[in-house]
């Protein structure tokens, strides 16, 4: 099933993801050119959400590989089920070593990890390789190979070819420079914080029963908080937390309750330093701009 470029935004909206036009184009190109999509952007702008929405649109399974330093093939690709292997060796004691070996290195004892799972599904899933910049260079090279051939070789078993080509989304926070080869293999999209209108729409979609005017006020307020010199800039998830809190408190206009606004801002500010930077006065000044 391929996406129609015109209705892709609508279909994303239907699954709860408010997309800007450019990301819609990028998602369409992914299918058209059969290339993975690399998303970069600050933490909290909703990179992971893109992959989730894409999976929902296609009705496909989302397979997620979270990268970390020291991630190796065992954790990412496949692992043998050692307990069962040992058991099998014990129960077949006395048999010819070659026969046992052939038996215990068969598919029955193979544990799929995300990458292997992604290429062995009947229906193409969405593979999300999250924070690929946290993995080591070696892993990146391996990933690149997998993404171009869509086959893996398991020394004990042979080569496994993909039964379906997954749609691949990679995200990066920029903690390490990715290799040029990987970057070139992928389509690129830089995800920015949503503008006020889009963020307001996101709030309305995700927070049931919230006023449109309040959502707009919250979006404006968050946009101006992001402009302050903070250590940790609040992401979309924080905005949603805050919106849910304010809606839960039955607030309808931010300007009427500056006290509540200031106190609930702890949803947005995640370090002590940022808390102390946004004093009551600063909150009031920002509120003044929201009007």
């Amino acid at each position: 099933m391929s996406l129609n470029r015109d209705n892709i935004s609508d279909r994303l909206a239907a699954v709860g993801y408010i997309a800007d036009r450019d990301i819609a184009t990028a998602l369409w190109l992914m299918d058209f050119l059969k290339r993975p999509l690399l998303l970069e952007g600050e933490a909290g702008v909703g990179k992971t959400e893109v992959a989730k929405a894409l999976a929902a649109v296609h009705g496909a399974e989302l397979i997620r590989l979270q990268c970390y330093e020291g991630l190796d093939q065992n954790a990412a690709l496949y692992e043998w089920n050692y307990q069962r292997q040992l058991l099998a060796i014990k129960t077949r004691e006395g048999a010819d070593a070659d026969t046992i070996e052939e038996h215990i290195f068969s598919e029955r004892y193979l544990l799929e990890r995300p990458l292997l799972a992604a290429i062995r599904r009947e229906k193409p899933p969405v593979l999300l390789v999250d924070e690929v910049d946290r993995a080591d260079e070696e892993f990146e090279a391996f990933l690149l190979e997998l993404l171009s051939d869509f086959q893996v070789s398991i020394p004990e078993l042979g080569t496994i070819k993909a039964t379906s080509i997954p749609r691949v989304v990679l995200t990066s926070n920029g903690t390490r420079e990715l290799s040029d080869a990987l970057r070139r293999r992928c389509l690129y999209h830089y995800v920015d914080f949503p503008d006020v209108d889009r963020e307001a729409k996101i709030i309305i979609t995700r927070t049931p029963g919230i006023d449109t005017s309040l959502a707009l006020q919250i979006a404006r307020m968050v946009a101006s908080v992001r402009k302050e010199d903070l250590r940790k800039v609040p992401g979309v998830a924080e905005t949603l937390d805050w919106a849910a809190t304010l809606a839960g408190l039955d607030l309808h206009d931010l300007r009427q309750e500056p006290e509540v606004v200031h106190e609930t801002m702890l949803c947005l500010l995640k370090t002590r330093e940022d808390r102390s930077r946004l004093t009551r006065e600063v909150t009031e000044r920002l509120l003044g701009k929201v009007a």
Partner: protein
């Protein structure tokens, strides 16, 4: 309507074909323009771009632009510059500017922009900075000279203050020494890592494989050695007027280090910060050094260490610094910005990296004490405050780095 997708009578057909060829040529030319601007565009990308031309996306610039942007961009800096280049090329806006960008054929992209930005100042060639500093450092400078008079004539090159290496032959020799030193430093560091780290854990996959013939009894164990990860070095070199006597030398030293260390990054700052690793990785030492010398010279208006560090913390630190990173700042600490800002940025930097080493050429001068207010503000966050006025003092760093 897409140029390729039309079906029409014979005459239209050939017209279309020539249209199509023209579009292809224009696209190839656009890809070249991007390449000139430092984009990594290969044949595969050009091919895919042709595919895009056959789709309805190619009908309007407003839809073609995001499509080509996703395809051709690979980094955030590409992303930021793409629109400008696209508009210049396809819509004929600001072509002159785009050409100029392409013309400054520096390898590093960010530096190229910085250079362009500071262009107008170039004529002043650093003089204002120099005169402005003079009274600041008057005393210290006098002392330095005094020392020189009294020094032994047989001082070897390694212990000569770098300011006084003036003969071209001596300069060349000093540079060669710097390069060698940077290599030696690298070799020793790596070796020490290897003996120090002995972390081992069991490799189950291999162990099982090996022990099938023992009936699953684990006799022959396979071990996994912890991978050795060398130290990462990040250099921040002050290239302001007050450092000008040392800059050329340190640039040479940086080149050696960046070439030898796989994980190292270099930045040069004066009133602003420039990422210069890419230029330094040029195999040709002379060319790399010339490029950098060009960047380092001709900038007036003081040193903004605090501001440069802020830029570094904001835009580069996350990418180039990890927990095994030693940051080396080479500067005399004369900051024309606010010392409070320098202190604050140093504090932020300190929290991210493993060690901060501040090399100050002035320490080598007799009776020097870090009086400059900027230096005072920065010192609490510095792990090692060391001289760097001659080659010996640089060599003395090596054991320290090996222990990190």
């Amino acid at each position: 309507m897409s140029v390729a997708g039309r079906k029409s009578p014979q005459t239209r057909e050939s017209e279309n074909r020539s249209d199509w060829f023209a579009a292809r040529r224009r696209l190839a030319d656009f890809a070249r323009t991007l390449r000139d601007n430092g984009f990594k565009v290969g044949l595969a990308e050009s091919g895919d771009a042709l595919e895009i031309l056959t789709t309805p996306l190619a009908l309007r610039p407003s839809t073609l632009k995001p499509a080509l942007r996703s395809l051709f961009c690979a980094t955030h800096s590409d992303w930021q510059r793409f629109d400008e280049i696209f508009d210049a090329y396809w819509l004929g806006r600001g072509i002159g500017q785009a050409r100029m960008l392409a013309g400054s054929a520096l390898e590093g992209r960010a530096p190229a922009r910085h250079l362009k930005d500071v262009g107008p100042h170039a004529g002043t060639s650093g003089l204002p900075d120099h005169t402005q500093r003079r009274h600041d450092e008057g005393d210290a400078a006098g002392d330095g000279r005094g020392r020189r008079e009294g020094a032994s004539r047989f001082e070897n090159l390694a212990s000569t203050d770098l300011r006084h290496v003036v003969e071209p032959a001596d300069i060349a020799q000093a540079h060669a020494l710097a390069t060698r030193l940077s290599r030696v430093m690298r070799a020793r560091l790596v070796r020490r890592e290897r003996v120090r780290r002995r972390g081992r854990r069991l490799d189950l996959r291999r162990t099982i494989h090996r022990n099938v013939s023992h009936g699953g009894t684990l006799l022959d164990l396979a071990w996994r050695r912890r991978k050795i990860r060398p130290l990462r070095l990040v250099f921040l070199l002050d290239a302001s007027g007050s450092m000008s006597l040392y800059t050329a030398f340190f640039v040479r030293f940086l080149h050696g280090v960046v070439e030898a260390f796989r994980e190292s990054e270099a930045f040069v700052f004066h009133t602003r910060l420039a990422h210069v690793s890419a230029s330094l990785r040029d195999r040709d030492v002379t060319r790399a050094v010339d490029k950098l010398a060009l960047m380092a010279q001709g900038i007036g208006g003081g040193t903004k260490i605090g501001e440069s560090l802020a830029t570094f913390n904001r835009w580069h630190a996350r990418r180039v610094i990890n927990s095994r990173t030693a940051v080396m700042i080479v500067s005399d600490g004369y900051d024309t910005g606010a010392p409070e800002q320098l202190g604050e940025e140093m504090r932020r930097l300190r929290r991210r990296c493993r060690r901060i080493i501040w090399l100050n050429p002035l320490i080598g001068w007799r009776d020097y004490s870090p009086q400059a207010r900027g230096m005072q503000a920065a010192l609490p966050y510095v792990d090692l405050f060391a001289p760097a006025h001659n080659l010996e003092s640089l060599a003395a760093l090596e054991p320290y780095l090996a222990r990190i």
